[in-house]
């Protein structure tokens, strides 16, 4: 065994010497390479998980406050002189009078009782700014819902303005010099008094989930955007799914294999990679300019997103149709099933889970799209909750974009909270897709 340490010994005819030094070195090298590769892979996973955790943590940290809002409790006297007397007036006249009354006067009376030292127009106006502008509507609705309030004094919780809310949430640095911050010293001292009286509280804010958009952060909600997204996705689903499925079935099962279908196939695959804003331009040109459909409406948004999802649906459907084993097709054909019967009795039912998974993933992508919708005007400021696919609407990602663009500090947390809502829907959709795939997976 003199050649033991010679790396490339001449080819020996005997059995391989697995214990030779060269062999040991080879094995050690192989182990080392595997270790290095594994640690690289692990490092990559750790880095991506860290990024994800950081991103989600940041969103949740910012967004959690978006779901709560600061309120101030004040004692409001519903004076009959000001609001009219429901016992002497007809209900219509009473309603009319309440609508016409400036509720700010009720708030002013209450606030001045709390802070009798505040005098002068300017200071009074600043004092009233503690309460949100939405408080007036809140009071009006209270009175209209319960006219028996007239003549009584009641402690009511009113939303504070976004600035006060931000102070309470600790987002405004009150150690800055007064000139550099929005909330001035006198406001802070009033706020302190209110807090000492236990009149300030931070509560879950359901209006964020049930209300439409607003210029005032404390009044803004995502429901309008959720409904807009739902209408838009409905249009997308109802157009992209049937068209995509038919196209996939035709291409996979019936189309002759020739140059023409090859070109179509290549184009569909390329279409899936086209930047989404291009589809927005297409939607703008076709649906708005040529077909004259309404701007900002879910019908147009949905059709535009359908263009975008169509390639995804077609590719996913074709893949799962092609994955149905040929033996099943042969079996059906061998019994005398017509081509259409083969497809609809056997291939489609077996491919359905994959088709639905692909469609849901396409829908999830459509739900997250904003760029193409900007092109067709779904970026307008819309307060009303859309009632049909023809009403002006916005969608969740565009709402997020709009809020992210707003100057008010309070919209930062609204933005993150809206992202949380969007993520919830996306995760739910992907969860459904995974569930479908596992539930209906065929074992051969």
């Amino acid at each position: 065994m003199t050649e033991r340490n010679v790396p490339h010994a001449e080819l020996s005819t005997g059995p391989t010497d697995w214990k030779s030094g060269a062999m040991q070195a080879r094995i050690a090298r192989r182990y080392r390479r595997e270790r290095i590769f594994q640690s690289l892979g692990l490092g990559a996973v750790v880095i991506s998980v860290l990024f994800l955790v950081f991103l989600l943590g940041n969103i949740v940290k910012n967004g959690a406050y978006g779901f709560v809002q600061t309120s101030v409790s004040i004692d409001v006297t519903f004076s009959a002189d000001l609001l009219g007397d429901p016992t002497s007036l007809s209900p219509e006249a009473f309603t009319e009078k309440v609508r016409k009354t400036n509720m700010l006067r009720l708030i002013q009376t209450s606030m001045q009782e709390l802070f009798p030292e505040v005098k002068g127009r300017r200071d009074t106006r600043t004092l009233l700014r503690i309460v949100s502008t939405g408080a007036r509507a809140q009071l009006r609705n209270m009175i209209l819902a319960d006219p028996a309030l007239i003549g009584t004094t009641k402690r009511v919780e009113l939303l504070t303005s976004d600035d006060i809310d931000q102070v309470i949430k600790g987002n405004i640095d009150i150690s800055l010099p007064e000139a550099n911050r929005k909330v001035k010293d006198n406001e802070l001292s009033w706020l302190q008094t209110l807090q000492n009286d236990d009149r300030i509280s931070l509560n879950f804010h359901s209006q964020f989930l049930t209300g439409g958009d607003s210029r005032e952060p404390e009044l803004a909600g995502v429901w309008g955007a959720i409904v807009g997204s739902a209408f838009t996705l409905m249009v997308t689903l109802l157009t992209a799914f049937p068209i995509g499925l038919c196209a996939a079935i035709y291409l996979e099962e019936f189309a002759p294999k020739n140059r023409f279908t090859d070109i179509i196939e290549i184009n569909i695959n390329n279409l899936a990679a086209v930047p989404s804003i291009v589809f927005g331009l297409l939607g703008l040109a076709v649906f708005l300019s040529v077909m004259g459909m309404p701007r900002s409406a879910p019908i147009v948004g949905g059709l535009t997103l359908a263009l975008l999802t169509l390639p995804t649906v077609i590719i996913a459907s074709r893949a799962s149709i092609a994955a149905v084993p040929p033996s099943i097709r042969d079996a059906a054909r061998g019994l005398g099933a017509s081509p259409m019967q083969v497809v609809f009795h056997h291939v489609i039912p077996l491919a359905m889970p994959g088709i639905m998974t692909g469609t849901i993933i396409g829908m999830a992508r459509a739900l997250g799209e904003s760029a193409p919708l900007l092109m067709i005007g779904m970026v307008a400021f819309i307060v009303d909750i859309p009632g049909s696919i023809n009403d002006a609407a916005t969608v969740l990602p565009v709402q997020i974009y709009l809020w992210a663009d707003s100057p008010e500090r309070a919209f930062v947390e609204k933005t993150s909270a809206a992202i949380m809502v969007l993520l919830f829907f996306l995760i739910a959709m992907n969860g459904i897709a995974i569930w479908l795939r596992q539930k209906f997976e065929q074992k051969w």
């Binding site: 033996s327 061998g334 005398g336």
Partner: protein
């Protein structure tokens, strides 16, 4: 044109062939897979197709019910007659043809549906049963004929794919006979099965041989000898020899046949 090939001998004169190939050529693109084959297939005689791998047995079998149509590059010339009607003329309804000439595949391929639905599928699409009771009747008798009834009668609702390989193959046979075909083509139906399941299928073929014209491709010479009355030997796309099974195996006329059955080519 209708003259039978010389090898079939005097028997051909007595019985009219159920199916007949006349000058059949098959091309896969440029590959000439079947070369000018003439062959008569009789309703009352099980016919075996034997030959080395790649010689074109499956290709020929698939011509008999036009399953080759689904392969785009496949091109067939010549005539295949089913009771004097050329199945390759343009007017023929392929769907109906395949109901008349059924097929059992090498790998058992039950539908991922219940046993009942597997068997009922053919009768349903061809409207063979007017009522549910008729359909039940067809399913029962088909499973009985396929020798599977005793094993599955209590679980007709369970999936066909949950059966054992041999049971699945018998289910496929039951499914094929449920549409009442005239001819049954079998492409190596036992190649995925153990000897016991194979014996059952062979007994079944024997049982069915009176009612259906059966054409079977097999790699097992013993199987061909056991179950068939007629045997055709294919080699490199040509049909080398065709005759009574006993003659082919005891006194083959061609050297290539002898070499194959004694194991020298294959």
């Amino acid at each position: 044109m209708n003259s039978a090939p010389a090898e079939t001998g005097p028997e051909a004169i007595q019985a009219k062939p159920k199916m007949a190939a006349r000058g059949v050529n098959v091309f896969y693109g440029d590959n000439h897979a079947i070369k000018d084959i003439d062959l008569d297939l009789y309703a009352d005689k099980v016919t075996s197709l034997i030959g080395p791998s790649g010689c074109g047995k499956s290709t020929f079998l698939r011509c008999l019910n036009r399953m080759n149509d689904t392969i785009p590059i496949c091109h067939v010339t010549g005539e295949i007659l089913l009771e004097d009607e050329n199945i390759y003329t343009s007017g023929i309804d392929v769907v109906q043809l395949r109901a008349r000439v059924g097929m059992v595949f090498q790998k058992p391929n039950p539908f991922p549906k219940s046993i009942y639905d597997n068997v009922a599928y053919g009768p349903r699409i061809h409207g063979l049963a007017a009522h549910r009771t008729d359909l039940d009747e067809i399913v029962t008798t088909s499973l009985e004929k396929a020798g599977l009834w005793q094993e599955v009668k209590d679980r007709l609702d369970s999936s066909g794919t949950a059966l054992s390989g041999g049971q699945q193959q018998r289910l496929c046979i039951a499914r094929a006979i449920a549409v009442n075909p005239e001819v049954i083509l079998m492409d190596e139906p036992c190649s995925a099965l153990d000897p016991i399941a194979t014996a059952k299928i062979e007994a079944l073929i024997d049982e069915l041989s009176g009612r259906y014209a059966i054409i079977i491709v097999t790699h097992s010479m013993q199987q061909a000898a056991r179950i068939s009355r007629k045997t055709a030997f294919f080699h490199l796309g040509e049909m080398v020899e065709y005759g009574d099974t006993t003659e082919i195996f005891t006194s083959p006329k061609e050297d290539r046949t002898r070499d194959y059955i004694t194991g020298r080519i294959g």
